[in-house]
Symmetry: C2
Subunit: 409 residues, 2 copies
């Protein structure tokens, strides 16, 4: 695991393709914050404007140490934090100063909340006409569920993820056990904001980008998950969904995942379990490979063979035969996998307050506008003084703002 | 379900934030094609250059009708297709003509393949110095697994998705039963390409954007999935992962998903099952709500109550109490959900060759550079004549290219 400088770091001269872009981030928990972290990781100056007292509610969730919480930590690297009480006129005035200097504003409230706070698109555009106005909503701006609060597992039930997660061997359905729709929404929003910035750079006006979690969940699931419904009618041949064939194959001491899709790989599975006789048989060459009886013979032979092998031996034999294969790594083993270590995917560093932590390098790597990790997730309102200084509020003015309860002590 | 014009449509004057951007897409199956579909859905002119005879191998997979396959259909809307034999010098020359007019080139081969085809970054940059060179690789450009073929379920085993998918009630692990890492990779690439275009527009050189599926899988999983590993050390308080609490609750005739995270919602679950007595008790007010004994009392009471209710009644009662809740929709029911229908998320249309099909509207909606769906996924090399005409190859020249086997008949 590689090491970065850690510490608090300055957000001064930032590298990355989004260097020079300023984003005012009012969003909380996962769908908004993870989107703006993608952009912060590419050099955008993301100023997280957090509500009074406790800030983003993700700061109240689990995995604490010294005032930092896990979910906030993992979704807010490279950002700056300032607490502002937007319900005070002085707070709103301060926010408007920031708004004037920003390229993007992001929120993930329920429909109508922004307008109630005086932060609807029309309000914001009066202060900054060319801003990109980005918002996540749960179900839709209107419609029968628009006023409901949305959470990831609820969307999973509504969009087919749960019904697809029916393991045929058990068989009961399950949820995807992480916030897959929150995160698909975040990635959709990050790309949408970037596209709106590109369009603006090429002459389009500043505009709104809205992502509905329900829609984003369906769009992410659809390409392979809804294959049975992409053509309408009863005359579709060979209806099949790859995910329905996803399976863990038992070994003597556990389970293994392999995926043999070419003729070589199919024959390789037989060789890996010592069935050269079958691998060389005519029944497992050319078109005969996919005849149902031969497939069944092969699947049975491979299952029987693997069930007699230790996982480590099965893995080695399948790798040797160039069959795509992996052991099932525990989360601790993920941290130590040789390729993951080689890639420098996971970085360990130390923050002066919350101590040693791990983060992930962004997966998109740019050859010219390179990313440099400088700043771990901020403590609540940690950057208030620096941000206000940039706006020209000197120490005396900041003291007044604190005395007025506009920013936290 | 709304209706679009369907038909083949022209890719002429395109709307969307990426209008005016041309992308040469050499990628196949899911991770590359889904990325370029995001960009095509935003107005980019994506020219899919497909290999001779059968094109993208996704055209060989399941769910066929009249020469169109499901996985190709769902990942290639709004693109144009031309088959070119890149191994013939005339084919490579034709490709280079397209390259000169393009802003982005995308591939998802194993490391080294592009170079063997004369399409490595250095080769491409000789023809078009300012191009964005985008590539997906499986495990990494180098490192112990670099030469292996990567498939989604293999990456799921290596990156913690499978170990997280352990349903505590069964308990055996499972895979996420759709290509979640392929798709996270696609979204990462789509955003990365857009960011590189933005940087270029703002003065940076054309550059490469590389996404490794292994890394993209970890980055997508990490923020909530790896919460137990984001802080290093044994002194982390209240280690908890939301996904571990994801559960389906049995009703009299099925199961239901609800998510009560505020005091009101927790009390609402009790009222929904007729336990006003508990909802009003001091044990379920304020801080007492999260005392373990009271939580257990509440969970048990709600489980017992829901187990006696039909799913439809349980759903109605929880909605009435403003508790986030959903029934588990089958894929067919997803198509008919009132909010999904209201949003116009799923669109039905007819193609003159492959007939009626469904597609999904892009989840990012722009107020100014609006998307208009015009073109369903193309038949193999369907747009060869139009593309060659634009390059100035007249009917006679195209006849020669066909006779030479450079483009298909």
């Amino acid at each position: 695991m590689s090491e970065e400088s850690g510490g608090r770091g300055a957000a001064g001269a930032r590298q990355g393709p989004l260097a020079g872009v300023r984003i005012l981030d009012l969003s909380a928990v996962v769908s908004g914050p993870m989107a703006t972290m993608v952009l912060a990781d590419q050099g955008a100056d993301v100023i997280k404007v957090e509500p009074p007292r406790h800030g983003d509610e993700a700061r109240q969730l689990a995995n604490y140490r010294n005032g930092m919480a896990g979910l906030y930590l993992t979704s807010n690297h490279e950002k700056r934090s300032i607490g502002i009480n937007l319900k005070k006129p002085e707070g709103k005035a301060l926010f408007d100063e920031l708004l004037k200097t920003s390229d993007v504003i992001v929120s993930n409230w329920r429909p109508g909340t922004a307008e109630r706070l005086g932060l609807g698109e029309a309000d914001v555009r009066e202060i900054n006409p060319e801003i990109v106005y980005a918002a996540v909503v749960g179900y839709g701006d209107d419609g029968p569920y628009a006023d409901r609060r949305g959470y990831d597992p609820i969307f999973q039930a509504l969009t087919g993820y749960v019904s697809a997660q029916l393991n045929p061997e058990i068989p009961i359905p399950d949820l995807v056990r992480h916030a897959v729709i929150d995160k698909a929404t975040a990635y959709t929003l990050a790309q949408g904001i970037t596209a709106a910035l590109l369009a603006r750079e090429r002459g389009a006006p500043g505009q709104s980008v809205r992502v509905t979690m329900l829609d984003a969940g369906i769009a992410f699931f659809w390409p392979d998950g809804m294959l049975r419904h992409c053509m309408v009618g009863d005359d579709v041949a060979n209806p099949m969904v790859p995910g329905e064939r996803y399976t863990l194959t038992p070994t003597k001491d556990g389970q293994i995942v392999f995926w043999a899709s070419t003729a070589d790989q199919m024959q390789g599975t037989l060789r890996a379990v010592g069935r050269e006789d079958l691998a060389n048989s005519r029944r497992h060459q050319g078109k005969a490979l996919i005849e149902p009886a031969n497939m069944e013979e092969r699947v049975t032979a491979v299952a029987e063979g693997l069930a007699r092998m230790e996982t480590r031996d099965a893995y080695a034999a399948l790798v040797e035969e160039q069959v795509p294969v992996a052991p099932i790594l525990s989360q601790t083993e993920v941290l130590e996998d040789p390729q993951i270590v080689h890639n420098g995917t996971i970085v360990e560093a130390t923050h002066p307050i919350y101590g040693r932590y791990r983060r992930v390098r962004p997966a998109a790597r740019f050859s010219e506008t390179k990313f440099e990790m400088t700043k771990p997730a901020p403590m609540y309102s940690e950057d208030a003084d620096a941000i206000l200084e940039e706006l020209g509020h000197d120490a005396e003015a900041r003291k007044t703002l604190r005395a007025q309860g506009v920013i936290p002590d």
